[in-house]
Amino acid sequence: MKRGYLYTVLFMVVLSAVFTFALAASYEGFKPAIEQNAALQQERAVLYAFGLEEGLSDDEATRKYDEVIRDGGLNGMEVPVYEESGQVMGYALPFEGAGLWGTIRGYLGLNAALNQATGLVFTEQNETPGLGGRIEEPQYKEQFRGLPITKGIPIRYGDNQGEQLDAVTGATQTSSAMLRILNNALDGVFAGEVD
């Protein structure tokens, strides 16, 4: 059967409308679950940066987050602040920068005195799985718990102010990018310091 141009155009228009509508409807349907997952991931990340996340179920994590984390400021930046009975315990410093393949985002937990890291966590990274991607593994991340931080002295691999800090083997680019990103973020904190 030979069909005219009109049929062809109408067919495509109707079909596009049907599929767009179906997708929009399913997006609306999934939205609450997707947003909840994103919020939970964020909350877990911040808690992890303070070493508070381990072993918590999803509900417990949300409750813990509501209990001890509030939005606050650190030298002019808006950051999540960890408070216990009215006392500031630490800050979750957000960092962001270019890795080898894509943007690396996450938080570096800092203690209240800003002289020690409490933990490192990623919310987004697209490094090579199995190589640079291993910055997500505890072996790398856990090194940052209790890592000494001093204003004006950048974090570095090897002997970092008396503590051993190791890069990821086979992932030099990603490892170097991490130092650059973290030191940038820290510079931002100390630059905004008023004293």
């Binding site: 049929y7 062809t8 067919f11 495509m12 997708l23 399913s26 999934f30 994103a38 199995g130």
Partner: protein, 205 residues
């Protein structure tokens, strides 16, 4: 006239496997096969999309204007892939995060459009759906074989569970995409050699 389900299954899983015999879907076979978990999710995702898009396109095959059929195919495939992406984000956020951009790239996987062009266009919906589903499962099967080899040698684990009891040195190259090249090459060689041997035997008999 229509192919029997058993034939569709056998053809897609073995004799005409999409990856090893048709050499389609190679890109993702290199990219996601460094762990078995990723491969499995990718394979299931692709099977889901291929089955549903083949079903839909076959159901519409008599009303799709011939000269815009590829536009229609892309539209249908893209719609299902976006749906799958939403589904993963809502219910399997961890896996969604790990697969990341690969889910969106299912759209460009040649297997889906290949099946739509080569099969769904001429065959009834149920046969087309079976064909799509098993083309996807045939792809999954190959991905699982490749990732088993890569994960065991590269990480010393199976589905993330450590099996490297002797603490042997793992091979970094196995984690990198080139390793999949060698493995796929080896598999294609083996399968082609077998098919040739069989053809020669039949020729003599």
């Amino acid at each position: 006239m229509a192919e029997k389900p058993r034939e569709i299954i056998k053809r897609n899983l073995f004799t005409d496997n999409q990856v090893l015999r048709q050499i389609l879907g190679i890109c993702s076979s290199l990219a996601v096969t460094n762990t078995m978990r990723n491969s499995l999710v990718m394979g299931i995702g692709l099977s889901f999309v291929t089955a549903l898009s083949s079903l839909t396109l076959s159901a519409m095959r008599n009303i799709i204007p011939h000269r815009i059929r590829m536009l229609v195919q892309t539209l249908v495939i893209a719609a299902y892939v976006i749906f799958l992406d939403l589904l993963l984000k809502a219910y399997l956020p961890d896996i969604s995060k790990q697969l990341g951009p690969y889910v969106g790239l299912i759209i460009t996987n040649c297997i889906i459009m290949g099946r739509a062009e080569a099969y769904a266009q001429q065959n009834p919906p149920v046969a087309a759906m079976l064909d799509g589903l098993f083309a996807g499962l045939g792809y999954t099967l190959v991905l699982m074989i490749i990732s088993l080899i890569r994960e065991v040698m590269g990480f010393g684990s199976v589905f993330g569970i450590n099996v490297n009891f002797l603490n042997l040195q793992t091979w970094t190259i196995m984690i990198m995409p080139p390793a999949a090249f060698f493995i796929i090459g080896g598999l294609i060689w083996g399968l082609t050699a077998r098919a040739q041997r069989r053809a020669r035997k039949e020729g003599k008999a």
